[in-house]
Symmetry: C4
Subunit: 125 residues, 4 copies
């Protein structure tokens, strides 16, 4: 399939609550996700940079999304160069060497019931 998307995306919202009612169920742990689709025929080398309120940006976090595959990246799982702090406002810029699609999702389970939100990220250029 012909590639679809853009090479540069941004998400201004970011916040991983430290609490979850049921921390033993991975699907229902509070998390923030960057869902990335690489519909094209070439592997995507993705670099994520995190921005904060009162300190320098951190990154890049490097992720590979194979050709014709999707990767739903949980910010909770990012480890290198450092884990994403909980209960802290952040934002992100996501850059790739081929066109990709980026959609942002949060599942919040601080309370007994889950809350969900999603939006397409902002596509630059």
């Amino acid at each position: 399939m012909e590639a679809i998307g853009k090479r540069r995306w941004a998400i201004a919202e970011g916040y991983i609550p430290s609490g979850s009612v049921d921390p033993d169920d991975p699907a229902l742990v509070s998390h923030e996700t960057a869902c990335i689709l690489n519909a094209g025929e070439r592997e995507a080398k993705v670099a994520i940079t995190l921005f904060f309120k009162d300190r320098a940006p951190v990154g890049p976090y490097r992720v590979i999304v194979p050709a014709r595959r999707t990767a739903h990246i949980r910010f909770n799982d990012l480890e290198e160069p450092e884990p994403v702090p909980r209960d802290t406002d952040y934002a992100s810029v996501i850059e790739a060497d081929v066109p990709i699609i980026v959609q942002h999702t949060r599942l919040d389970s601080r309370r007994a019931e889950i809350a969900l939100m999603t939006t397409m990220a902002f596509a630059d250029g």
Copy 2:
């Protein structure tokens, strides 16, 4: 009405939870929907391709949206070429031969209360 929209759309998020508190109420079963609007004067032939994390894309799933009509397609209901797996990350590309609008929605009823999320899909070109 003059056609409105684009011919190529993408949704990077996709996940149909297998669980629902009340599986006997179709309106409240956990589901993901691609809401398609064909505001123009010609029938839309729509092809949906699904992308996964670790296997080849599946599709096309074929849907007809008549002229001047909307179709809210539940991914849960797609059957050919194969049903959409539950509890599995996926993404989708939606292509049509005339301009359409695509909006993505999830209703999640794994817990007693429902959670909702929606976004316009990414419009290409």
Copy 3:
């Protein structure tokens, strides 16, 4: 302020649940809203057309948004040419004679807790 926005918008999702846990509280009754911002110096004459799955479009519903004002239009409250059916999939096209911004929101209170979703509508042209 200089006008901002577009003259033609579309929302592919539409569904007003008939049920609400507490139908006596207007703020918490299940509803769908088209939030319209007219930031410019001229009154906006807005026409809303509704699309359905299996019958002809209905409209236009006519709304005036004064210059430099916002109007949060509940689809529940549209009466002319006919009320919007409950528990029915629909979609909408929103046209104005000056640039406006349109954002779509649903508050769903079929269960004891509310669920929310929102997205910018699709801006044409």
Copy 4:
């Protein structure tokens, strides 16, 4: 990092519920947020103007977002030229002297459980 975004954004939805189940937990108080990302190398001078249903716009509210930082601005916290009224429909235009990204979020805790919604704001020009 090269600047990313636009200089003029709009959010048509705005509504801060006066009620919160647990008003003593700042993270869970009902709030509306404009998440702003300034990924570029120059400080952003941001001006927010609020629009209402039946009175003149109010503003500008002035906010500085340093270079390479994010600021998640709660409308609840805006004080000058006047606080944002509760239980009142509003909309906003957000302007900056350098490119920024704006994402809109509401956390609603009128009921015991929270509801979330988010969308990228509309980027003009």
